[in-house]
């Protein structure tokens, strides 16, 4: 049976309308890529809560900060490359430092804007945001979790960076599944190896676990949708109970999920791991699957790395 696929940006688009209807303080601050980031319905249905500041990301971040000081909950909506790097210092100075209730909601995470090429592929964003105090950094794995985590972000007091996919990714969760920011979701139990993934790579981790199971290797699979605050208890449980960990992410291997997990392993002085992610190189215009393949972000490579760890 063909798995149903939906871009996670669509989950954001649906959730933000529902949130906006429940709470008039929820605002969208668009930066002229709203259509692409799925705020079209919000704009139509909630025009009084909808702002568009034009192609001016820096200003968008500042305006959102000002709005937040007055009790609003603005979602600044743009692409991940711009919502992290173009406005990095505005986020640091005007949103994170004063700990304001601003959400940065970004489509086009990782290499999912595949055909757009390197300029639009955000491979550094989560790592950069992770180093800013007071920030929370989240990437949902599928449509339903995107919806749930957008709502969790709205309820979370303080700044949150949310990262969605441009391209369609397989449905993993049913609607109504509950998610908590900072709490990893265990999707499969196993005692031989732990695969920790987030975003569009969670589906690869699940497929790899099935392949491994067919060969008698049982993998625990975790959806680590929040890389900050990291679910240290879940990571420590993997280290203590299994000791062999693989991280998988559609992000540079530097400073993302893999680095966050490696920090715990290194300080603890036990556990072995392999990091799978973008190999510290820029992308190009190419099919999405090809871009993942060029970086070893594949089911096959997860299986290979698992076996290497088990040797």
């Amino acid at each position: 049976m063909e798995t149903k696929k939906i871009p996670t940006r669509n989950g954001f688009g649906e959730a933000i309308v529902e949130l906006g209807k429940e709470n008039r303080d929820i605002l969208v601050v668009d930066i002229d890529i709203g259509k692409s980031c799925k705020t079209g319905d919000f704009r139509k249905q909630l025009p009084e809560q909808y702002l568009n500041v034009g192609i001016a990301e820096q200003n968008g971040a500042g305006v959102a900060a000002g709005l937040a000081t007055c009790g609003k909950i603005p979602f600044v909506v743009t692409y991940a490359a711009f919502g992290s790097m173009r406005i990095c210092e505005m986020i640091r100075q005007e949103i994170a430092y004063p700990k304001l209730n601003v959400k940065i909601a970004c489509s086009h995470g990782g290499v999912t804007p595949a055909n757009d090429g390197a300029s639009h592929q955000a491979i550094e964003d989560m790592g950069i945001l992770r180093t800013i105090p007071n920030m929370t950094v989240v990437m949902p794995a599928d449509f339903a979790s995107a919806k749930a985590l957008v709502k969790a972000a709205a309820a979370w007091e303080g700044p949150v960076y949310l990262r969605f996919t441009r391209d369609a990714v397989p449905v993993i969760y049913g609607e109504g599944e509950s998610f908590e920011i900072g709490k990893a979701k265990q999707l499969r139990e196993g005692k031989d190896v732990a695969i920790l993934a987030n975003g569009d790579t969670v589906c690869l981790a699940l497929q790899a676990a099935e392949t491994l199971a067919a060969e008698g290797i049982e993998a625990r699979v975790l959806d680590v949708h929040t890389i900050k605050p990291l679910d240290e208890a879940a990571v420590n449980a993997c280290i203590g109970e299994i000791g062999k960990l693989i991280t998988v992410e559609d992000h540079n291997i530097l400073n993302g999920l893999g680095s966050a997990v490696a920090e715990i392993i290194a300080e603890r002085g036990e556990g072995k791991m392999k990091r799978i992610g973008i190999q510290d190189q820029f992308g190009q215009s190419a099919p999405y699957e090809r871009l993942l393949e060029m970086n070893g972000i594949t089911v096959e490579n997860i299986v290979v790395q698992a076996k290497t760890l088990l040797k």
Binding site: A56, N59, G62, T69, G71, P74, Q93, E94
Partner: protein, 281 residues
């Protein structure tokens, strides 16, 4: 405004200047030049126009002040202390460890600071967000913001202006502190401002050009700006003197970010105290 009120306001500005130089001298660190040039606008805001309550610094309906040129916070700290937001002695802790008076303003540390600033070009966008929130909620509060002339080199200032115009923020008053000097030299030399008034006008602001160190002109422009409920954001381009009130600091690039020594402090105090206008009998 009658002459007596104007005199009182001018004396407040003098007191503010004295406190600015005093706290920077005690800290042996800070930015006296721009703090002194913006002093008259700051004084007018806090002692004539702004609807604030020192007992409730986060009161939802208060007027807001955004110091986009955050490095001149000694001027705002002095105003806040004089207004009663915190005891006057706190001014002596400027830039010291654990002080609410950070080198650049922090909203979560210092009562009366409406947004943290310090990285140039960013404050105005925040002020726009606040003014926008008032419009969205049909509230009456106003937002005042001081922007530096050098700061107008930053592109984000002009992005914010676009938004202020688009959303008809006639509850926003921007003061451009045109003292003509920035850190590395004169504005003309570093990045010629051409006409700041024309620029703000082109971005859809109603603009008033004044001598920003003449309290009577500041008050006149503010009265006009606040009376005109015409859907246009307001900009007061104030020609000012960096270091205003202290002869050896006036128009000197070198006094952007250094503290006076003991001898200079003594002279500054003598000069500033001489600015007080005695009330007519």
């Amino acid at each position: 405004m009658d002459a007596k009120e104007l005199t009182a306001l001018k004396n407040k500005a003098t007191e503010l200047r004295i406190r600015v130089v005093d706290m920077i001298w005690k800290a042996q660190s800070g930015h006296p030049g721009g703090s002194l040039s913006v002093a008259d606008f700051m004084t007018a805001c806090y002692f004539k126009y702004m609807n604030v309550d020192p007992a409730k610094p986060r009161w939802a309906d208060r007027d807001r002040f955004v110091l986009s040129k955050g490095h001149v916070c000694p001027a705002q700290y002095a105003a806040l202390a004089m207004k009663g937001f915190f005891p006057m002695e706190v001014l002596d802790t400027l830039r010291k460890e654990g002080s609410p008076l950070q080198g650049h303003p922090s909203m979560n540390k210092c009562p009366g600071i409406d947004i943290s600033t310090g990285s140039l070009g960013q404050g105005l966008a925040c002020a726009v967000g606040m003014a926008l929130a008032a419009k969205l909620d049909s509230k009456e509060y106003r937002v005042f913001s001081a922007v530096g002339d050098g700061e107008c080199n930053e592109g984000e200032i002009w992005e914010a202006c676009g938004t202020a115009h688009k959303y008809k923020l006639d509850n926003l008053v921007v003061f451009v502190d045109w003292n003509g000097l920035q850190l590395d030299g004169t504005c003309e030399e570093i990045m010629p401002p051409v006409s700041l008034a024309k620029k703000f006008e082109a971005f859809g602001f109603e603009v008033y050009e004044i001598d920003g160190n003449d309290m009577a002109q500041v008050v006149e422009a503010m009265d006009k700006a606040l009376a005109a409920k015409n859907g246009l954001p307001k900009c007061i381009v104030g020609k000012t003197v960096k270091g205003k009130g202290v002869s050896f600091m006036e128009n000197q690039v070198g006094w952007h970010g250094v503290a006076p020594n003991d001898e200079q402090y003594k002279q500054a105090m003598e000069e500033l105290n001489a600015l007080y206008i005695k009330e007519e009998a």
